[in-house]
Protein backbone atom coordinates (compact mmCIF):
# COMPACT_ATOMS: atom_id res chain seq x y z
CA UNK A 1 0.00 0.00 0.00
CA UNK A 2 1.63 3.24 -1.09
CA UNK A 3 1.36 6.06 1.36
CA UNK A 4 2.08 9.69 0.84
CA UNK A 5 4.48 10.55 3.65
CA UNK A 6 4.38 14.28 2.92
CA UNK A 7 0.76 14.57 4.04
CA UNK A 8 0.23 16.36 7.34
CA UNK A 9 -0.80 14.67 10.55
CA UNK A 10 -3.36 16.07 12.93
CA UNK A 11 -2.65 19.80 13.35
CA UNK A 12 -0.29 20.37 16.24
CA UNK A 13 0.12 23.07 18.87
CA UNK A 14 2.03 25.39 16.57
CA UNK A 15 -0.64 26.02 13.92
CA UNK A 16 -3.46 27.25 16.14
CA UNK A 17 -4.03 30.63 17.62
CA UNK A 18 -4.22 30.16 21.38
CA UNK A 19 -7.74 30.64 22.67
CA UNK A 20 -9.84 29.24 25.52
CA UNK A 21 -11.33 26.39 23.45
CA UNK A 22 -7.91 25.42 22.08
CA UNK A 23 -6.32 25.48 25.54
CA UNK A 24 -9.20 23.41 26.93
CA UNK A 25 -8.79 20.90 24.14
CA UNK A 26 -5.06 20.46 24.67
CA UNK A 27 -5.55 20.38 28.46
CA UNK A 28 -8.05 17.56 27.94
CA UNK A 29 -5.33 15.52 26.27
CA UNK A 30 -2.55 16.51 28.66
CA UNK A 31 -4.64 15.75 31.76
CA UNK A 32 -5.82 12.52 30.14
CA UNK A 33 -2.23 11.38 29.65
CA UNK A 34 -1.32 12.44 33.21
CA UNK A 35 -4.27 10.47 34.61
CA UNK A 36 -3.47 7.47 32.40
CA UNK A 37 0.14 7.24 33.50
CA UNK A 38 0.29 8.84 36.97
CA UNK A 39 -3.28 8.22 38.06
CA UNK A 40 -3.47 4.57 37.06
CA UNK A 41 0.00 3.80 38.45
CA UNK A 42 -1.06 5.34 41.76
CA UNK A 43 -4.44 3.58 41.80
CA UNK A 44 -2.72 0.23 41.17
CA UNK A 45 -0.08 0.88 43.84
CA UNK A 46 -2.77 1.92 46.35
CA UNK A 47 -4.83 -1.25 45.73
CA UNK A 48 -1.76 -3.52 45.92
CA UNK A 49 -0.66 -1.81 49.14
CA UNK A 50 -4.16 -2.21 50.58
CA UNK A 51 -4.16 -5.91 49.73
CA UNK A 52 -0.62 -6.33 51.03
CA UNK A 53 1.07 -6.11 54.40
CA UNK A 54 0.81 -3.31 56.95
CA UNK A 55 4.29 -2.11 56.03
CA UNK A 56 3.36 -1.98 52.33
CA UNK A 57 0.44 0.30 53.21
CA UNK A 58 2.63 2.38 55.51
CA UNK A 59 5.03 2.91 52.59
CA UNK A 60 2.17 4.16 50.44
CA UNK A 61 0.80 6.41 53.20
CA UNK A 62 4.24 7.88 53.84
CA UNK A 63 4.70 8.67 50.15
CA UNK A 64 1.18 10.10 49.84
CA UNK A 65 1.54 12.40 52.86
CA UNK A 66 5.04 13.61 51.93
CA UNK A 67 4.94 17.20 50.57
CA UNK A 68 6.01 15.97 47.13
CA UNK A 69 3.38 13.24 47.28
CA UNK A 70 0.72 15.80 48.16
CA UNK A 71 1.88 17.96 45.24
CA UNK A 72 1.42 14.97 42.90
CA UNK A 73 -2.02 14.23 44.40
CA UNK A 74 -3.10 17.87 44.05
CA UNK A 75 -1.96 17.79 40.40
CA UNK A 76 -3.78 14.53 39.75
CA UNK A 77 -6.99 15.70 41.43
CA UNK A 78 -6.91 18.92 39.39
CA UNK A 79 -6.29 16.77 36.26
CA UNK A 80 -9.26 14.62 37.19
CA UNK A 81 -11.58 17.62 37.65
CA UNK A 82 -10.36 19.40 34.50
CA UNK A 83 -10.60 16.22 32.39
CA UNK A 84 -14.02 15.36 33.81
CA UNK A 85 -15.54 18.82 33.29
CA UNK A 86 -13.94 19.06 29.86
CA UNK A 87 -15.33 15.60 29.16
CA UNK A 88 -18.82 16.82 30.03
CA UNK A 89 -18.24 19.72 27.63
CA UNK A 90 -17.28 17.18 24.97
CA UNK A 91 -20.43 15.14 25.62
CA UNK A 92 -22.53 18.31 25.26
CA UNK A 93 -20.75 19.13 21.98
CA UNK A 94 -21.17 15.53 20.79
CA UNK A 95 -24.91 16.06 21.11
CA UNK A 96 -24.56 18.93 18.65
CA UNK A 97 -24.94 21.66 21.24
CA UNK A 98 -22.57 24.40 22.36
CA UNK A 99 -20.90 25.29 19.05
CA UNK A 100 -22.08 28.88 19.10
CA UNK A 101 -18.87 30.88 19.58
CA UNK A 102 -19.77 32.65 22.79
CA UNK A 103 -21.32 29.57 24.41
CA UNK A 104 -18.32 27.49 23.40
CA UNK A 105 -15.88 30.00 24.87
CA UNK A 106 -17.85 30.31 28.10
CA UNK A 107 -18.04 26.53 28.49
CA UNK A 108 -14.25 26.37 28.05
CA UNK A 109 -13.76 29.01 30.76
CA UNK A 110 -16.28 27.19 32.97
CA UNK A 111 -14.13 24.03 32.93
CA UNK A 112 -11.11 26.03 34.19
CA UNK A 113 -13.08 27.78 36.91
CA UNK A 114 -14.80 24.55 37.92
CA UNK A 115 -11.61 22.48 38.10
CA UNK A 116 -9.77 25.18 40.08
CA UNK A 117 -12.65 25.60 42.55
CA UNK A 118 -13.16 21.85 43.02
CA UNK A 119 -9.42 21.30 43.56
CA UNK A 120 -9.23 24.10 46.13
CA UNK A 121 -12.39 22.91 47.89
CA UNK A 122 -11.15 19.30 48.00
CA UNK A 123 -7.74 20.14 49.45
CA UNK A 124 -9.09 22.75 51.83
CA UNK A 125 -11.39 20.05 53.17
CA UNK A 126 -8.62 17.42 53.36
CA UNK A 127 -5.90 19.62 54.86
CA UNK A 128 -7.96 21.99 57.01
CA UNK A 129 -11.50 20.78 57.51
CA UNK A 130 -10.84 17.18 58.22
CA UNK A 131 -7.73 17.71 60.29
CA UNK A 132 -6.26 14.42 59.06
Amino acid sequence: MSRNTSRPLSPHLTVWKWGPHMVTSILHRATGVALSIGGLALLTWWLLALAGSASAYDDFSAAASHPLGILVLVGLSWSFFQHTLSGVRHLIMDSGDGFELKTNKNMAYATWAGSALLTIALWAYILLGRGA
Binding site: S2, R3, G32, V33, S36, L40, L50, T84, L91
Partner: protein
Amino acid sequence: MTGPKQIGAQDRNAVPNGKTALGKVRGLGSARHGGQLWIRERVSSAALLLLGTWFIVSLLLLPDLRQGTVLEWLASPLAFVPMALFVYLNFEHSLEGLKVIVDDYQGDEGGRLTWHLVSLFLHVGAGALALYALVRIVFGAAS
Protein backbone atom coordinates in the same frame (compact mmCIF):
# COMPACT_ATOMS: atom_id res chain seq x y z
CA MET B 1 8.09 5.02 -10.89
CA THR B 2 8.55 1.61 -9.28
CA GLY B 3 9.04 2.10 -5.57
CA PRO B 4 7.56 4.67 -3.21
CA LYS B 5 10.95 6.37 -2.87
CA GLN B 6 11.07 7.37 -6.58
CA ILE B 7 7.51 8.66 -6.81
CA GLY B 8 7.54 12.29 -7.85
CA ALA B 9 5.37 15.17 -6.73
CA GLN B 10 2.80 14.86 -9.55
CA ASP B 11 1.97 11.19 -9.16
CA ARG B 12 2.72 10.65 -5.50
CA ASN B 13 -0.71 9.11 -4.98
CA ALA B 14 -0.18 6.61 -7.79
CA VAL B 15 -0.76 2.97 -6.86
CA PRO B 16 0.23 -0.18 -8.82
CA ASN B 17 -3.17 -0.75 -10.49
CA GLY B 18 -3.15 2.71 -12.02
CA LYS B 19 -5.71 4.22 -9.69
CA THR B 20 -4.96 6.81 -7.08
CA ALA B 21 -5.33 5.87 -3.42
CA LEU B 22 -8.54 7.90 -3.33
CA GLY B 23 -9.87 6.29 -6.52
CA LYS B 24 -9.25 2.88 -5.06
CA VAL B 25 -11.47 3.41 -2.04
CA ARG B 26 -14.06 5.77 -3.51
CA GLY B 27 -17.53 4.24 -3.59
CA LEU B 28 -16.68 1.34 -1.32
CA GLY B 29 -18.49 2.85 1.65
CA SER B 30 -17.34 2.73 5.22
CA ALA B 31 -16.06 -0.39 6.97
CA ARG B 32 -19.04 0.03 9.32
CA HIS B 33 -17.08 -0.40 12.51
CA GLY B 34 -15.16 2.88 12.61
CA GLY B 35 -17.52 4.48 15.07
CA GLN B 36 -17.20 1.78 17.68
CA LEU B 37 -14.14 3.11 19.47
CA TRP B 38 -15.66 6.60 19.45
CA ILE B 39 -18.86 5.33 21.04
CA ARG B 40 -17.09 3.11 23.58
CA GLU B 41 -14.93 6.05 24.67
CA ARG B 42 -18.06 8.10 25.38
CA VAL B 43 -19.89 5.29 27.13
CA SER B 44 -16.92 4.66 29.42
CA SER B 45 -16.60 8.42 30.03
CA ALA B 46 -20.25 8.67 31.14
CA ALA B 47 -19.76 5.70 33.48
CA LEU B 48 -16.54 7.18 34.87
CA LEU B 49 -18.27 10.49 35.52
CA LEU B 50 -20.55 8.67 37.96
CA LEU B 51 -17.94 6.25 39.34
CA GLY B 52 -15.25 8.93 39.74
CA THR B 53 -17.62 11.10 41.72
CA TRP B 54 -18.61 8.09 43.84
CA PHE B 55 -14.91 7.26 44.44
CA ILE B 56 -13.93 10.71 45.68
CA VAL B 57 -17.04 11.24 47.79
CA SER B 58 -16.70 7.76 49.34
CA LEU B 59 -13.06 8.35 50.33
CA LEU B 60 -14.00 11.71 51.87
CA LEU B 61 -16.85 10.12 53.83
CA LEU B 62 -14.60 7.49 55.43
CA PRO B 63 -13.70 8.36 59.03
CA ASP B 64 -9.99 7.92 58.18
CA LEU B 65 -7.82 6.32 55.50
CA ARG B 66 -6.11 3.71 57.69
CA GLN B 67 -5.63 0.30 56.05
CA GLY B 68 -8.19 -1.45 58.25
CA THR B 69 -10.84 1.22 57.67
CA VAL B 70 -10.42 1.17 53.88
CA LEU B 71 -10.32 -2.65 53.76
CA GLU B 72 -13.52 -2.95 55.77
CA TRP B 73 -15.24 -0.46 53.46
CA LEU B 74 -13.99 -2.15 50.24
CA ALA B 75 -15.02 -5.64 51.36
CA SER B 76 -18.69 -4.66 51.37
CA PRO B 77 -20.48 -5.39 48.07
CA LEU B 78 -21.75 -1.83 47.78
CA ALA B 79 -18.15 -0.61 47.65
CA PHE B 80 -16.46 -3.58 45.96
CA VAL B 81 -18.73 -3.70 42.89
CA PRO B 82 -18.47 -0.01 41.94
CA MET B 83 -14.74 -0.10 42.75
CA ALA B 84 -14.18 -3.08 40.41
CA LEU B 85 -16.12 -1.25 37.68
CA PHE B 86 -14.19 1.97 38.41
CA VAL B 87 -10.85 0.17 38.04
CA TYR B 88 -11.88 -1.74 34.91
CA LEU B 89 -13.40 1.28 33.14
CA ASN B 90 -10.44 3.50 34.05
CA PHE B 91 -8.10 1.13 32.27
CA GLU B 92 -10.48 0.75 29.31
CA HIS B 93 -10.98 4.51 28.94
CA SER B 94 -7.25 5.16 29.30
CA LEU B 95 -6.45 2.59 26.61
CA GLU B 96 -9.04 4.13 24.26
CA GLY B 97 -7.86 7.69 24.88
CA LEU B 98 -4.16 6.94 24.43
CA LYS B 99 -4.96 5.02 21.21
CA VAL B 100 -6.49 8.18 19.73
CA ILE B 101 -3.45 10.24 20.77
CA VAL B 102 -1.02 7.73 19.23
CA ASP B 103 -3.07 7.68 16.01
CA ASP B 104 -3.03 11.48 15.87
CA TYR B 105 0.64 12.13 16.49
CA GLN B 106 2.45 9.01 15.28
CA GLY B 107 2.44 9.10 11.48
CA ASP B 108 4.59 6.04 10.95
CA GLU B 109 2.56 2.83 10.70
CA GLY B 110 5.22 0.70 12.38
CA GLY B 111 5.56 3.23 15.16
CA ARG B 112 1.80 3.27 15.67
CA LEU B 113 1.69 -0.52 15.95
CA THR B 114 4.56 -0.49 18.45
CA TRP B 115 2.95 2.19 20.64
CA HIS B 116 -0.44 0.46 20.51
CA LEU B 117 1.16 -2.82 21.59
CA VAL B 118 3.18 -1.21 24.39
CA SER B 119 0.08 0.62 25.61
CA LEU B 120 -2.10 -2.50 25.40
CA PHE B 121 0.40 -4.66 27.31
CA LEU B 122 0.90 -2.03 30.03
CA HIS B 123 -2.84 -1.49 30.45
CA VAL B 124 -3.69 -5.18 30.56
CA GLY B 125 -0.74 -5.89 32.88
CA ALA B 126 -1.42 -3.09 35.36
CA GLY B 127 -5.18 -3.58 35.11
CA ALA B 128 -4.82 -7.28 35.93
CA LEU B 129 -2.61 -6.40 38.92
CA ALA B 130 -5.18 -3.90 40.21
CA LEU B 131 -8.05 -6.38 39.83
CA TYR B 132 -5.96 -9.09 41.50
CA ALA B 133 -5.44 -6.76 44.46
CA LEU B 134 -9.19 -6.09 44.64
CA VAL B 135 -10.02 -9.80 44.57
CA ARG B 136 -7.45 -10.42 47.29
CA ILE B 137 -8.99 -7.66 49.37
CA VAL B 138 -12.51 -9.04 49.13
CA PHE B 139 -11.54 -12.69 49.74
CA GLY B 140 -8.96 -11.85 52.37
CA ALA B 141 -11.62 -10.03 54.32
CA ALA B 142 -14.13 -12.87 53.94
CA SER B 143 -11.89 -15.55 55.41
